[in-house]
Symmetry: C2
Subunit: 246 residues, 2 copies
C-alpha cells in the first residue's frame, strides 16, 4: 500500500531534508517513526525533492509503502504523536503503487520571506532580515523576466554538474504584507528547480532592489550561463517549500 | 547618565526575564553586555517588570546608568552587536536621573496569540496551538467584563501572597487575523498585572470559548477571590509583553 503525505517542518534545527550519516535530518526523523509503527521493518520515504539545511516547508510531499492498510486518520495521529514538534504531517492519502513523489511532480512553489524593516529577534530563523528598504517594484520587474523556459546555469550551485540546466518558471510574484509593508514574500512556481536556484535568484533580486543592477540585467546573466555573473546566495532561513503540484 | 531602552526578545530559550543564579536570563544577558561596554564596571538593569520563562516581548522597557554620555545610535549598535540574536535593543533614550522603569509605569499591554486552526510546527514556540475552533464572540464578551477596577486574586498564581490584588484593566480586545481567521490575538492593557494574571485570564476565556463556562461567569469568579475558581493557566509561548506606557 503506497501512501502520500503532506508535511510541514521548521528546518532550523536540521541538516536539511535528506538523510545523511550521523546528521539529524527531516527524512531521518520520518523514516525512524515510520519504521517504528511498521513493527521495526525498515520504511523508506521518497520526497518531492530535498530542502537544504535551515530551509522550511509548509507543503513538502513524500511517499512511502506500508504492508498494512491503515485508517488514514489513525496513521496521521500515530506519526504526529511520535514525530518531534517541529515536523508535522498535515495530510495522508492513498496513491497508486506506481505513483512517485519526485518523478511525478508537475510543479513546485517556493516562497522567500524578507524583512526590510526593523530587525525582529522573534523571526531570526524564519525570515531573511535585510532590515533596509529595497526597490520592490524593480525586483518584481526582474523576477518577471524569469517566467518561461530558460537555462538557469547562472543561478545554480557553482560546482553543480548537470546534463540539463533548462527549467520552466510558470508563475512569479512579490506580495507585500498588508499589516506590515516592510515584509515581502517572493513566490516562484516552476516545473523544476536546480540546487540553490531560488536563493540565487533572490540574491540577484536583492542587488536589483539595492539599485546595484537593473531589472533587465537578469537577461544578460541568464545568457552568460555562468554562476559568477549572478551574485550572492540569499540565506536559507527565508526559504519555504510552499506547495508541490502533481 | 540614565538611559531607557526598548527591548524585543524571543523568550523561548531563557529562564525568564529576571536574573537567577546559574540560569540564562534576559536580564543576565543585558547586564553582561552593558558591563562589558562599561569597561567591566557592573551595570544593573531595571525593567518594567519580569516576564516568565518562554514569554516573549516586543516592547519591554528597562533603565540603566552609565557614567559616559554615549551617542545613542552608537550605544544601541554596540549592544546589539554583542547581544545574542534573540534579544534586540529597538531604541535607547536618555531619561531623568529619577526616572524608574518599574515605578513609573502608567500602563502595559500584553497580547496573547492563539491558533484555532491546523497545528503549525513553525510557530510552536510563538503561538498557543489550541487547534480547535472556539466561540470567539463569547470569549470577547467575557473579556469585556474585566475592564475597570477589580480584585484579581482569582486570576493570580495560587500561592502568590500580595497585600493588594486590585488592578485596573483599561482596554481589552480580541482581533482575528485577516489572512487567517483561525489566528486570534487577545490584547489586555492595564495599569498593573499580577503574576500569571494574563495567562490565567486566557485560560478562563478558553473555557468560555469551549462552551464550558458562560461569559458572565467571569463575574462570579472575580467575586470569589479564589484561584481554584478560575481554571487553567494558558501556556507561556503565546504571551508577549507588547508595550509599556510611561
Amino acid at each position: 500500500m503506497r501512501y502520500l503525505m503532506t508535511i510541514a517542518y521548521d528546518g532550523s534545527h536540521y541538516s536539511g531534508y535528506q538523510k545523511q550519516p550521523r546528521m539529524v535530518t527531516i527524512q531521518g526523523e520520518l523514516e525512524k517513526v515510520l519504521t517504528k509503527i511498521n513493527s521495526e521493518k525498515k520504511v523508506t520515504v521518497s520526497a518531492s525533492g530535498r530542502t537544504d539545511a535551515g530551509v522550511h516547508a509548509y507543503g513538502q510531499r513524500a511517499h512511502f509503502d506500508l504492508k498494512k492498510d491503515w485508517d488514514l486518520y489513525k496513521l496521521q495521529g500515530s506519526l504526529n504523536s511520535l514525530l518531534p514538534k517541529d515536523i508535522y504531517v498535515r495530510r495522508i492519502e492513498k496513491v497508486a503503487d506506481d505513483f512517485h513523489a519526485r518523478f511525478d511532480v508537475q510543479a513546485k512553489e517556493y516562497i522567500y520571506k524578507l524583512n526590510m524593516g526593523e530587525y525582529n529577534p522573534l523571526e531570526k530563523d524564519y525570515v531573511y532580515q535585510y532590515n533596509e528598504p529595497l526597490k520592490v517594484v524593480e525586483m518584481e520587474r526582474a523576477l518577471k523576466y524569469l517566467e518561461g523556459t530558460h537555462n538557469f546555469q547562472s543561478f545554480t550551485k557553482a560546482d553543480e554538474e548537470k546534463e540539463d540546466y533548462v527549467r520552466t518558471i510558470l508563475e512569479t510574484r512579490i506580495v507585500r504584507d498588508k499589516k506590515d509593508i516592510n515584509q515581502i514574500t517572493i513566490s516562484i512556481t516552476g516545473s523544476g528547480f536546480l540546487r540553490y536556484m531560488v536563493r540565487n535568484i533572490v540574491g540577484f533580486l536583492i542587488e536589483v532592489g539595492e539599485g546595484k543592477r537593473k531589472s533587465q540585467d537578469i537577461l544578460t546573466v541568464l545568457e552568460a550561463q555562468d554562476r559568477t555573473q549572478a551574485g550572492i546566495t540569499a540565506p536559507a532561513c527565508g526559504l519555504y517549500l510552499n506547495q508541490v503540484f502533481y
